[in-house]
Amino acid sequence: MERDDIIEYSLGAGHSEEQGRAIRKKIYFVTILLSVVTTVEVLLGVFWTNLFPNAWHWVKWVFIMLTLVKASYIVMTFMHLGDERRNIRGLILIPYGLFLMYAVFILIWEATYVHNVLKLFL
């Protein structure tokens, strides 16, 4: 039976040949970007001891920043979250982002405390 209370958003999601070309161009751009960033990460991971022997702290932050760049391109372009309505973007990203910030804060805070206690007794 055909139900008329369900709104078929899916039917409106198609695009034309011309729009498809533009979208594919964007996909290839993101592909190259992700590959380049991964290559940079691997080269830095292998050679950082020779290139920047005393800068582990900075190398670590470069890794984390590059990872966040990759993650945002995957979510926004490959998962199309960038093309969705603002409401749904906020619904997905804000609660998760808040939880993430809390989890990272609490892990660093508590781990530092445990580390200092172990330093006293070991």
């Binding site: 309505r85 781990a111 530092t112 172990l118």
Partner: protein, 282 residues
């Protein structure tokens, strides 16, 4: 583009509201909610890993990725991070083929969907095989850690594969760390090895040659959980591929199911980006 319904909907269909709040079908909204909850699970696991690593007591050190993961199938010698870089690349490419399948679906291009989905499944299978290699290498190990009777720690220069006998003439161990310049070798060193208190070879759930026991436990749990997700993704993609070949989506009038399976597949890639950074690089 996808999701954002551009057509005007009648006010009656929107429970009195003028504009649809999300403009998204039920199935797609639900897969997004599922992905958020799955992301929370992986966040919890990676935060627990970070906690174990950050709270490590004095005198202990966390293993370095480029020293643990340095083998390449079929090649001898040290190729730090090369194989995992290939794995990461394969997973990114399979994500690209997936997004191309979704794009083809929006144009109702059945042949395109089938072609790109098939390549995505191949990429997923390649990644799973690579993970099996990584695990096998990790469990076997390469420099068994030896606790000598005099209290020092030594690492074997080369840990022979199971069943191969050790030759005392070419035997060598380095003292302190696998890369230490202090090396003892020959029959004398072999005798020290035979009188050792304890030998840790490779990795299991209670001890490993790389570092603290928690290191191997987190490696097995997090990469294992991710591998389980990849397996599920490959199965989902195969189901969707079979339906696409049979023309189910064409008759339905839209290829949204490809998009939903795609969201899950991209999520798996997204998780790997973080696992790669925190296990292999940082």
């Amino acid at each position: 583009m996808s999701g954002e319904a551009s057509k005007n909907l009648s006010g009656a269909a929107l429970w009195g509201g003028v504009r649809s709040p999300f403009s998204m079908s039920y199935g797609k909204l639900m897969i997004w909610f599922f992905l958020v909850s799955d992301a929370l699970t992986f966040t919890g696991l990676l935060c627990a890993y970070g906690f174990a690593r950050h709270s490590l007591g004095p005198g202990m050190s966390w293993p370095v990725g480029e020293e643990v993961f340095n083998s390449f199938p079929g090649l001898h010698g040290s190729y730090p991070l090369m194989y995992v870089a290939l794995m990461t690349f394969i997973l990114i490419i399979s994500s690209v083929t997936m997004v191309l399948a979704v794009e083809a679906g929006h144009r109702m291009d059945k042949k395109g969907v089938v072609k790109w989905l098939f390549l995505t499944v191949l990429g997923g299978l390649f990644f799973l095989g690579s993970q099996a290699f990584e695990w096998s290498h990790f469990i076997h190990g390469s420099h068994a850690r030896v606790s000598l009777a005099d209290g020092r720690t030594a690492y074997l220069a080369d840990n022979p594969h199971h069943g191969e006998a050790m030759d005392p003439a070419t035997f060598a161990m380095s003292i302190g760390s696998p890369r230490s310049s202090e090396v003892v070798s020959g029959p004398e060193a072999y005798k020290l090895y035979q009188n050792a208190v304890h030998v840790t070879s490779g990795a299991n759930m209670t001890e490993n040659e790389y570092g603290p026991p928690a290191y191997a436990n987190f490696f097995f749990f997090i990469t294992g959980f991710h591998g389980f997700h990849v397996t599920t993704g490959v199965i989902l993609n195969l189901v969707v591929l079979a339906q696409a070949v049979k023309g189910v989506f064409h008759r339905r009038g839209h290829y949204e199911m490809v998009e939903k399976a795609g969201l899950y597949w991209h999520f798996v890639d997204l998780v790997w980006v973080f696992v790669f950074t925190f296990f292999y690089l940082v």
